[in-house]
Structure formats: C-alpha cells, structure tokens
C-alpha cells in the first residue's frame, strides 16, 4: 500500500510540477528562514553559557542613587571584589577584568595595534572556562607585567617563533613578558580579548585608585557557593555597604547599592548601560519574525495541499468506491504532505548552507546549523518539519475524506457552499503577516534614516578622530595638531578625551548652591575642539590658549543651565576637588546616542590622563588622500606609534549597531515573507479560477467581456489584500510604538505608511493574480461544454 501511495504522490507531484515547485520552494524558504533566525536567537541565548560553572557566576553591579539619579554600573572600584570575598562566606572567589581598550604592541620594530586588551586577575583561566594554548592556568597572569596573547595575535607579532618568554613593548613604553597563549574567546562570550595583562600590575601604578574611593573601571565577577542564599546575602548587604562606603558618603546624598547579575543574563538582560550589545527586545522581535515566516509558509503549504486535494477529489471518490476507508485516505494525504515537507526540509538545509556565509557576514557571527554539541536545533527542526507536514495535511485530509464518494465523483464537493472560505482565510492571514512585516521594516528604516540625518549639533562629515594610544602620543598633542594643520585640506583640529556621539563619562559635581554632589556628564577638551567640531558658544566665550594654563575655567551646555542655574550662568561656580568658573555656554549637542535626551554637560580643559583623540576637520574638497596625508604627518612626529583614524560618521553608527542589524535582518526576511505570501496568493488564485472555469465560461456565453471578468477577479482578490492590510494595522502600530519608545528622538507613525503598503501589496497582488485572471477570462466557451 505504501508503494502505491508513493507512486501516486510522485506522479501527482510531477503532473502538477508548477504548483509542486511553488509549494516546495515556499516551504523550504520558510523553513530556511526559520532555521537562520532561530540559529541567531539560540546563539544570543547561549552567551556566556560555555563557562563550566556559569550558573554560579555573577557580575557585581553597583547602584548609585541620589535624589536626581539612580543607575547601575558594572565598572566598579577594584576593592569591591576582595571585600566581598572577605566578608561573605557564600562567595568562594572573584575575578576582575577591566573594560577593553585600544593598545599597540611593539616587538623588534613590528607594530600591531589591537582593540581588545584587558587586565585580568591571576585566576582568570581557572575562574572562567577560557582555554590556554600554552602556559599554566595557575600562573600565566600571576605577577607584574605578565602578558597572555591570543594565538592570532601571537602569530601576527612573532610569526612562527615561540612567544613564551619574549618581551614586548605595550603602547611604546612599557615592557611586558609573554607568559602564555590563549585560544580565541568564543564568539558567544561577553568577555572578549586579544591580549590579557596581569591585574597585579595595576597596583604598582600610584596614580590609580584601587580602593573603594574611586577608579570605577573594574568589572568584578564572583563565584557563589552552592549554599548561596539570596535572602541571606541581601540581609547582610546593607551593613556591608555601610561599613565599606555608605558611611563615608553620609551627608553627600549618595547611597551605593549592590546587585549580583547572573552571568547568563549579562548579554541580553543587563541592567547596566554598558551591556555587551545584546538586546532581549530585538531577540524577541527576531523570534517573532521566525514564527511569522514559518506560519506564512505553513499556511501556504496547507493552502496548496488543499488546492491539490480539490484537484484530486475525483481520485478520492474512486478510491472510496473501490473500498478505501476514511482512515486509509487520511493516512495517504497526511503521508503525502509529510513527505513533501521532508523534501522541503532537505531543500531548506541546502538553502541554509548556501546562504550561511552571507548571513554570518550580515549579522557578524559565526553560526552553523551543525554546531557540535547543540542537538536542540536539529531536533527542533525535525519536529517542526513533521508538525508542519502534519498540520498542513490534516485539514485537506479530513475535509476531503469526509465527503460521500458519490459527491466527489459527481463534483459535488467542488461546488459546495463556502468552498473557498478556508483557503481565503489562510491567504488573508499570511498576507496580513507579510503586510505587518513590510510596515514594520518601513518604520524601522525611516527611524534609522531619521537618526542618520538628525542634526547632532556638530560636524559629522569630513571629521576624523585620530587615537592617541600611548604616553608619547599624548605628550605630543600640540606638535601633532600643528603637523596636521600643515596638510592641505585640513581646516582645524582639536583634542578631546572622548569623541561625542556615543556617550561620555560622568562624575560627581557640586553645582553652585548645591550641598550634595550630582552625577553630571563631563568632556575634557582643548581650546580648539569646539571650533573644530562646529559647536556653538551661545553665551560667554570658548576656551582660549590662556585657559590651558588656568584649568579652573569650564563651559557648560544649555541643558546644564536649564537644570542647575537660576540666572546668568557666566561666572557661576562648579565644585569637585576645587572650584571651577563657568566662562561660556555651548549650544546643546548630542554627545550621547539618540536613544537618550541631551543631559547636562560640563566641558573642562583639564584631562585627567591626557587627551585620547585629536579631532581633525577637513575641507569638502580635501580629496580621498587626506587620510594618507594625516598618516604621513603622524609618522613624521611619532614614527613608532600606530596611526588609528576613525571617521566621525562611522563612530556615530556604532551606537546603532543592534538597530541596523535588526533592520537588515528584518529587510531580508520581510522580502522572503512577501515572496512566500505571493506564492500563496498565486496558489489560491489558480485554484479558485480553475474551479470557476465553468462559471466564467457561462458568463462569457451570456455576454460578459473578458476584460470585465478579469476586473471582477482582480476585485475579489483585492478585497482579500485589503482585509489583510486592515488586520495588520493595530499590531504594527502597537509593536512599533513600543520599539520607538527606546529612542528619545523619533519619527511619528503615520497613516501614510499604511496607505503606501496597501498600494504596494495591491500592486503585487494584481501582478501575480492578473495573468491568471487574464487566462481565465480568455477561456473558450467550447472548453466549457467539454468541462460539462
């Protein structure tokens, strides 16, 4: 019997090869899209779970609260870890790392600059599950100026030489001993590094705060004992923080709190603003898209199965007459749809393999369907395929097998009332999903365009930030500026500690009349920076060269004036370990991303540890080789330091990486969704028009013109598309409104968005249905007589 089923399935598929291909392609594209998105989602969820004991590791975040502010920071003082270990028996160990920073290494004149160097405690390789290729986990980072490189960096610096025991220069000045080689940190790790420096070295720098009283730049991870009890821990926390820090802050208005953030939550759920880029909201959107695309594909598949079943009504009737029972027929149709979905699955795997490299490039990951050790995805996939085959086959199977054989033989099944209602509902639903995605991607893209074009309040084009990575570079700021200015096409340059646009640091300050400090953003700049960036001083004056000798002057932005100054701001004081005088007010500019509103800002001209960047503005017509000229100028001053430029526009885009990723993924998958939905519409229209051949023919005999018949068919399908558009409006409005709420500066969702999508989808449907309607309208009356 199975063989007979197989033969019938095969011959039917070949006989209607067009619809078989559409059907297979629709489902395989849907499945492939589903796999790709789910791989991404699983990857995001897998972050930091490769550590053997990830469940017992937490990151320590401190909470800073006063009457104006309440925020969490993951970069905390160095002393927190040791204090916790000493005080809480439920904490078994801790490990500290600094945030990543740029650096360059120099070995025998060979310079390699990297972006990810971090200081890490000596137990780093025991505490976490990062792998060492060479060296001993216990002591590679023990001692002063010990250095562990990744294999990749080691090859860049030393080639085939054994790196262990070699001395390299860090940032042109400090000598470090290579004590180990580490394997690359997994892509799904929050902690990323190209080089690790021994943490103990930090204690030898007298300029660094290593106690509770400052130096908020150390991420601290703690391992909790199996007996850890959250309530018990928290009950002791208040007293602990009291003796460590809060008593010293009494009267300041500040209170420090402490929160343990589980390792596996860092990537997607972090409460701190410096999360590692994951965003649970985006992941949910991706998962929703995956579900939607799979739904569209399943609806499509079901519709096509139903269509094919209707074509085969007569066959079903004959089989029934010959003794086939209802369960036999249900098994046959279910078997066929499961077989088809298995075929689609194989095709989907092939598609996935083909597009995987491009997809990985798009999302900047290294995903693979056959990831070793991950059985969830293949198993989920198999289940999905069988369920899809089952769900899409069960309706036609039950539907068709329920009819009396006499009816199916006579065509009574085909002419039954509401015969198209079920496929029509499915097509409307799949179109509604496609329309919803189209609308969403349009809104997301409009918002991103809005952000790109939003006036930040400073020049973003023709401006470059040149990094000052080492001590020598920092000392030669003025010489470098002069060297740059001598290049043709360079208009102005100015130095700063941080480039604007992606957020700047905060410190506690006392605005005049304040008795308690408030956390206020601060940028340290030189006298030409404001002019270089095209920012405007609206009151008072900019820094001048004399101010460089007088670091007690400062500028503030308009937001500062609005919040902290009652009358004329010029001459007002701000205190922090000394008293500064406001000499000017700068027009508000977006020093942070557009996710945030413009906050009060203080601009000082006394960098704590030297400037980190020189901003260089060039003329529009400076030409493409301006970077080469700047590089030449750089090496004329600093022949042994790397030249690391970044264009301001690129720098700004980094704040919107997750949104841009969302937009590009969403664009592609929306495209796929629309294609699948269109194939669904094609399937439905061919089914309906085929079944209406007789009706159309009779209408023609009675005098209807082909054109009129065609228009009538188009109107019928247009109504479906219209309903789909209407259905999509409310969910899109709701979800996109929620998404836009993450930005402080947004576009407004307008009815025009929806109107344009309606027109686009109507056009698509007319094109796809039109030729079939035309064919149906051209039916020859003689064929109708034969049909009878």
């Amino acid at each position: 019997m199975f063989y007979s089923f197989l033969i019938t399935f095969y011959r039917n598929a070949i006989r209607r090869i067009g619809s078989t291909v559409i059907n297979l392609l629709g489902l395989s594209i849907g499945l492939a899209a589903g796999i790709l998105i789910l791989l991404y989602v699983f990857n995001e969820y897998s972050f930091d779970r490769f550590h053997k004991n990830f469940e017992s590791i937490s990151r320590v975040n401190l909470n800073y609260a006063n009457k104006d502010d309440d925020f969490y920071a993951s970069e905390i003082p160095a002393a927190v870890g040791p204090s916790l270990l000493e005080y809480f028996p439920e904490i078994s160990s801790f490990c500290r790392v600094t945030n990543t920073r740029d650096a360059y290494f120099n070995y025998k004149g060979k310079i390699v600059d990297i972006e990810n160097v971090i200081y890490a405690d000596s137990n780093f390789f025991q505490f976490f599950s990062f792998q060492l290729a060479e060296g001993n986990t216990k002591d590679v980072l023990r001692g002063i100026r010990k250095l562990v490189l990744t294999e990749e960096l080691s090859t860049k610096l030393f080639g085939d030489e054994n790196p262990i025991g070699k001395i390299v220069l860090l940032n042109g000045t400090e000598s470090w001993l290579v004590s180990g080689v580490a394997k690359k940190s997994p892509q799904n790790s929050t902690i990323q590094f190209e080089a690790l420096l021994s943490f103990e070295t930090l204690y030898t720098d007298p300029d660094l705060y290593m106690d509770w009283n400052g130096g908020n730049q150390y991420q601290t991870y703690v391992a909790l004992n199996p007996t850890f009890n959250k309530a018990g821990f928290e009950s002791k926390l208040e007293y602990f923080l009291d003796i460590q820090i809060n008593r010293k802050l009494e009267g300041s208005g500040f209170k420090v709190g402490l929160m343990l953030e589980p390792m596996q939550r860092l990537h997607l759920y972090s409460l701190t603003e410096d999360g590692s880029g994951g965003n649970i909201a985006n992941i949910r959107i991706f998962a929703l898209i995956a579900i939607f695309i799979l739904l569209i594909a399943c609806f499509n598949f079901t519709n096509m199965a139903a269509a094919s079943a209707i074509y085969r009504a007569r066959e079903t009737g004959i089989r029934k007459v010959l003794g086939a029972t209802r369960p036999t027929l249900i098994r046959q149709y279910l078997g066929e749809s499961i077989m088809l979905s298995v075929l689609a699955a194989l095709l989907a795997l092939l598609l996935t393999e083909i597009v995987m490299p491009y997809y990985n490039a798009l999302i900047d990951k290294d995903l693979n369907f056959y990831q070793t050790g991950n059985f969830i995805i293949p198993i989920a996939f198999i289940v999905l395929v069988i369920v899809t085959g089952f769900v899409s086959g069960i309706f036609p199977a039950i539907f068709l097998s329920a009819y009396q054989p006499v009816d199916t033989l006579k065509g009574g099944f085909i002419s039954s009332k509401n015969r198209h209602l079920f496929p029509k509902i499915l097509v409307v639903l799949q179109f509604a999903i496609a329309v919803g995605l189209l609308n969403s991607i349009w809104i997301i893209n409009s918002q991103l365009k809005y952000i790109r074009e939003y006036k930040t309040g400073f020049y973003t084009e023709n401006v470059f930030g040149i990094s000052l990575p080492g001590k020598t570079a920092k000392e030669k700021v003025e010489v470098l500026k002069q060297a740059f200015l001598q290049q043709a096409g360079v208009i102005q340059c100015g130095a700063t500690v941080e480039l604007p646009g992606a957020g700047v640091t905060m410190n506690g300050y006392f605005p005049e009349t304040y008795t308690q400090p408030v956390m206020i953003h601060v940028m340290d700049i030189d006298a030409t920076f404001i002019e270089t960036m095209g920012m405007t001083v609206v009151k008072g004056r900019d820094f001048d060269k004399i101010d460089a000798e007088n670091p007690m002057n400062c500028l503030v932005n308009e937001a500062y004036v609005r919040q902290y100054v009652a009358s004329d701001p010029i001459g007002k004081k701000i205190s922090r370990g000394g008293e500064m005088t406001i000499i000017g007010v700068v027009k508000d500019f977006h020093f942070a991303s557009l996710h945030e509103t413009i906050a009060p800002l203080i601009l000082t001209n006394k960098p704590y540890n030297g400037f980190n960047f020189i901003a260089v503005r060039t003329a529009d017509n400076a030409g493409n080789n301006v970077i080469e000229k700047l590089e030449k100028a750089w090496f004329s001053v600093l022949p042994n330091d790397p030249f690391i430029p970044v264009s301001m526009s690129t720098y700004l885009q980094r704040s919107y990486v997750s949104e841009m990723q969302l937009a590009s993924i969403l664009s592609w998958f929306t495209f796929l969704a629309v294609i699948i939905a269109v194939t669904g519409l094609l399937g439905l229209s061919s089914l309906i028009l085929k079944l209406r051949t007789k009706e159309l023919g009779i209408r023609k005999i009675l005098g209807a013109s082909g054109q009129r018949l065609m228009i009538a068919s188009l109107i019928e399908f247009s109504i479906l598309v219209l309903i789909a558009n209407v259905l999509a409006v409310i969910p899109v409005w709701y979800f996109m409104d929620a998404w836009l709420a993450g930005f402080s500066y947004t576009i407004h969702i307008s009815a025009a968005n929806f109107a344009v999508t309606l027109i686009v989808t109507l056009l698509i449907s007319w094109i796809s249905v039109g030729w079939q309607a035309l064919r149906a309208a051209r039916v020859k009356t003689i064929d109708i007589i034969k049909y009878e």
Binding site: M1, S4, I7, T8, R11, N12, R15, R314, E315, G317, I318, R319, K320, V321, L322, G323, A324, T325, R326, T328, Q404, P405, V406, L409
Partner: protein
C-alpha cells in the same frame, strides 16, 4: 441477494426538495442480470448508488446479502463494498496517475492482499480481459474501449458477487460497446450478479430482467424467458 423495500431518496437544498426515488421495492436474486432503464432524471443512477452502498436512502430498507444496510455507516458500507461489489462507470473513473496495472490492482490493496498474490491475480485478469499488453500504460494513452475494459477488469479483480454498471457503453462506439457487453455477459454466465443502468435498448437485451423507472417509481418489470 438484494431486497429493496420502499426505498425513498429525497435531495434537499435550502429551498427545493426533489424526490429522486419514491418508495421503490424489488428483489434481485443471485446470478441475475438486471437492466434498469428510464428517461434522464428518473432516478436510475440514484438507485444504483444506493444499491452500490455509495449512498444511503432517505427512508425504506435495503437488505444486501442478508444485511440491512440502509442505516449503516461509511465504514461498514466501505467494508461490504470492497468485498462484494465491483463498479463499472460510463466515464470509466480510472485514476489518471496510475498505470493500467496499478488501477486494476487498487481494490486488492484495500483488501490488504499480499503483493505476490496481488500481482498474480492482476495479471490473470488482464489476460482474461485481453489488455495485458497495455499493463504499463496510463489510462489517457488508451482508447475508450480499452479504458472500459480496464474498468471492467478492476471491477472483477476482487471476485465480487455483484457488479454494478452505470451506462457502461455510454462513452463507447458500437463495436467497443459490444465488446464490453460481452464481457459482462460472460461474467454473468459464470455466476456474477449484474445490475446495469442503461439508456440503450440494445444493451438491455443482454439482461434477463428490465426494471423501468419513471419519476422515481417503478412502472414496469419485464422478465425475459431466456438469455439473449
């Protein structure tokens, strides 16, 4: 073999009620060859569908092989059907996607017969129907007469005790029509009961009894003395 008592079939739509069969009663014994005749719309095919267990009557009783089947469900009817009844239709009703061999084999598949036995039986019947050389062809590659021979082969494959033929020569020219009628006649001679709906007086000549229907009622039963 067959006993119909006051068989009535009423088709209802939202507004119209049509009585296709009106209290029809008759008996058919094993081995008979009965023709049902009458003008279009008189209820011939409706009666044949009920007799073939493809449809249930609205009222009345129908006893087939001592089973009262007028109220039986689809499963019970399908079971009786596949073991005891073969069908021959005017438009052949072969499955286009299956070859001649596979079409003929189908009833045996539903009887769960073993593959080897099935093959033997199909080959035997195809030989008998002189269509074995076309075993691997598809229905659309055959002439009408050949297609109907395949349909007859399929009808007899499971050795049914009753064959129902609905206008078996309606789509055939006279030569092919005669061929098919001869096949049916031979089957009847070997003991198979045959009930045939026909418009053709010529075909009716093959039967031993003619039941004439008009407006859903039997108006005449004519028993012949001898086989033609």
């Amino acid at each position: 073999m067959i006993k119909a008592e006051k068989l009535t079939k009423i088709f209802r739509t939202d507004e119209v009620e049509t009585t296709a069969l009106n209290a029809v009663s008759f008996e058919i014994k094993e081995g008979e060859f009965v023709a049902i005749m009458g003008p279009s719309g008189c209820g011939k095919s409706t009666l044949l569908n009920i007799l073939g267990l493809l449809d249930n009557p609205t009222s009345g009783t129908y006893t087939f092989l001592d089973y009262e089947v007028s109220k039986s469900n689809e499963r019970q009817r399908a079971n009786l059907r596949k073991h005891n009844i073969g069908f021959v239709f005017q438009n052949f009703n072969l499955i286009d996607e299956l070859t001649v061999f596979e079409n003929v084999e189908l009833p045996l598949i539903y009887l769960n017969m073993a593959t080897r036995d099935r093959r033997e039986r199909v080959n035997e019947v195809l030989e008998q129907m002189q269509i074995a050389h076309r075993a691997k062809h598809f229905p659309l590659q055959l002439s009408g007469g050949q297609q109907q021979r395949v349909a007859v082969a399929r009808a007899v494959i499971a050795k049914p005790s009753l064959i129902l033929a609905d206008e078996p020569t309606g789509n055939l020219d006279s030569a092919h029509g005669e061929e098919v009628m001869n096949l049916l006649n031979e089957l009847n001679i070997t003991g198979t009961t045959i009930i045939m709906v026909t418009h053709s007086q010529r075909d009716a000549e093959y039967s031993r009894r003619v039941i004439r229907l008009f407006d859903g009622q039997i108006i005449n039963e004519n028993i012949k003395k001898s086989i033609v």
